[in-house]
């Protein structure tokens, strides 16, 4: 029987990367991601991980090094946060369009300005369309498992795409949690060997990343889109197989106490725990409230999402990013457009909270449910989204 080891989530993530037997790690320090690559550098220095550890001069260089290493057929890993992810921006699209199986942790942190090292989802929400598979984690165990899933998925010959594992900065990366760690032999062949069919090889020269003239650009984009959409089958299979072998099951949309729920909270990431506390309290008081949590963000699991909200009359969507100048947050926009074409759809209200590390409490979710009910019965608010916890004066 495996035992749980208390450890910092960042360390567990590094151990999963070690177990995936990566070849190249490129790293540039940025809070709150630093502990992950710091621990990996120790593992490499101690000879516990046979990998090439590159100390690069910026995050732009880190992701560029990953692109180069992956193009040459290496299994690659990097991690970043906030400004670091923003600095990678232009290369992120290239990694996907070149079909390179890079795995990256984003320890989610607010984007400047003002300068904030604390947690929200503004970094990754600015990178929604990069063509990478993207998942959000709720617990340290899930973060550790998600790294193993990620390496299995990106190595699948039907996927060959990069993948982001989102782990909330500090609120998850720096939490010490009891975690089940695998012995390497327990993992067995769950993680396939890294083999790329197409790579830079001087004996079989090819050109990667040529100009896409107008006659080919659309088709090139379609190829990436098709691979990303179809990756869902591989992701689901990887989760099912993980559940079958190790007893921990994962789904693209997780549900909590949704039986006969009229009101659904929808969250992503670590605050889902807190939301569950609110759901428990409301259920105890007899209110039909449940929670859905979006784990798979890209590709967006449209049928699973629609199925999960089929019987609800109100969805209170939680956004941890403020989409300046838009009518609602990115998750709110996603949910509304996912439901728009359905003949009978629940009312959707969008709430933005927990920006730049502002604490998210059970009370916040109680207030959100109350407001959502009020909007449903007395008419929607003036703004298409509600900023929770805003001080006016």
């Amino acid at each position: 029987m495996p035992t749980r080891t208390p450890m910092e989530v960042s360390i567990a993530v590094a151990k999963a990367v070690q177990q995936a037997d990566v070849d190249v790690i490129a790293a540039y320090p940025i809070t709150p991601q630093t502990h992950i690559v710091e621990h990996l550098s120790e593992l490499v220095a101690n000879g516990e991980l046979q990998a090439h550890f590159m100390n690069v001069e910026s995050e732009h260089s880190a992701i560029s090094a990953m692109v180069g290493a992956a193009a040459a057929g290496a299994s690659t890993f990097t991690a970043t946060s906030s400004q670091g992810l923003a600095l990678m921006h232009e290369i992120l699209f290239i990694a996907a369009s070149l079909r390179l199986p890079i795995v990256m942790v984003v320890a989610n942190r607010a984007l400047s300005g003002p300068i904030s090292i604390w947690n929200d989802h503004s970094d990754i929400m600015a990178e929604r369309d990069i063509g990478w598979i993207q998942v959000f984690c709720e617990t340290g165990q899930e973060a550790y498992d998600a790294i193993l899933h990620a390496f299995r998925v990106v190595r699948d010959p039907n996927v060959v795409l990069p993948m982001v594992v989102n782990i909330d900065g500090f609120n998850l990366t720096h939490v010490i949690e009891p975690i089940y760690l695998f012995e390497q032999e327990e993992l067995g062949d769950y993680l396939p060997e890294h083999r790329q069919s197409l790579k830079l090889d001087i004996d079989h020269p090819i050109t990667m990343g040529p100009v896409g003239i107008p006659e080919v650009y659309t088709e090139a984009k379609k190829q990436v889109e098709d691979a990303l959409i179809n990756s869902k089958q591989v992701i689901l299979a990887a989760w099912q197989e993980f559940g079958r072998r190790f007893g921990r099951a994962y789904a693209p949309i997780e549900t909590y106490r949704v039986e006969d729920a009229q009101i659904l909270l929808m969250t992503m990431g670590v605050i889902s725990r807190t939301a569950m506390g609110a759901v428990d309290r409301l259920r105890d008081a007899g209110k039909p409230v449940g929670l859905i949590r979006c784990r798979l963000w890209r590709p967006f699991p449209l049928p699973e999402f629609r199925e999960a909200v089929r019987q609800a009359s109100i969805i209170a969507v939680i956004d941890r990013h403020i989409s300046l100048g838009a009518h609602s947050g990115p998750v709110g926009q996603e949910v509304r457009s996912a439901l728009y074409t359905l003949p009978n759809r629940p009312q959707v209200f969008d709430f933005v909270l927990g920006l730049g590390g502002r604490d998210v409490t059970v009370h916040d979710f109680l207030e959100i449910v109350e407001l959502a009910e009020q909007y449903a019965t007395q008419g929607p608010p003036e703004s298409e989204y509600t900023l929770i916890g805003l001080r006016e004066v």
């Binding site: 369009s97 390179l100 090819i206 040529p210």
Partner: protein, 100 residues
Amino acid sequence: MAEKVEKRAIIGWRNLALGCAILEPGSSMHLLTGTWRLQRPVVDPEKCNQCGLCHIYCPDLAMTKTAAGTYEPDLNYCKGCGICAEECPKDAITLVEEKE
């Protein structure tokens, strides 16, 4: 010949190599870039002294040597820029409007 070449370069997304990679060298040869030319160079072989400057100056190496030793543009790739006509020391090349 031209049509066959075109088909090899412009293909549907299902036939693109992974990540839009190019698997064979020299593939740009299959992409006909002379389709939007407005003017076409016409060489007068009587005036041509076979110096080859047009071939050297042509940005697309479209001026090619004929069996007779003079030069003719390969209209699959000539974009009608007129550099050859400008540089020809014998004024043997004139630009003619492309019509229909």
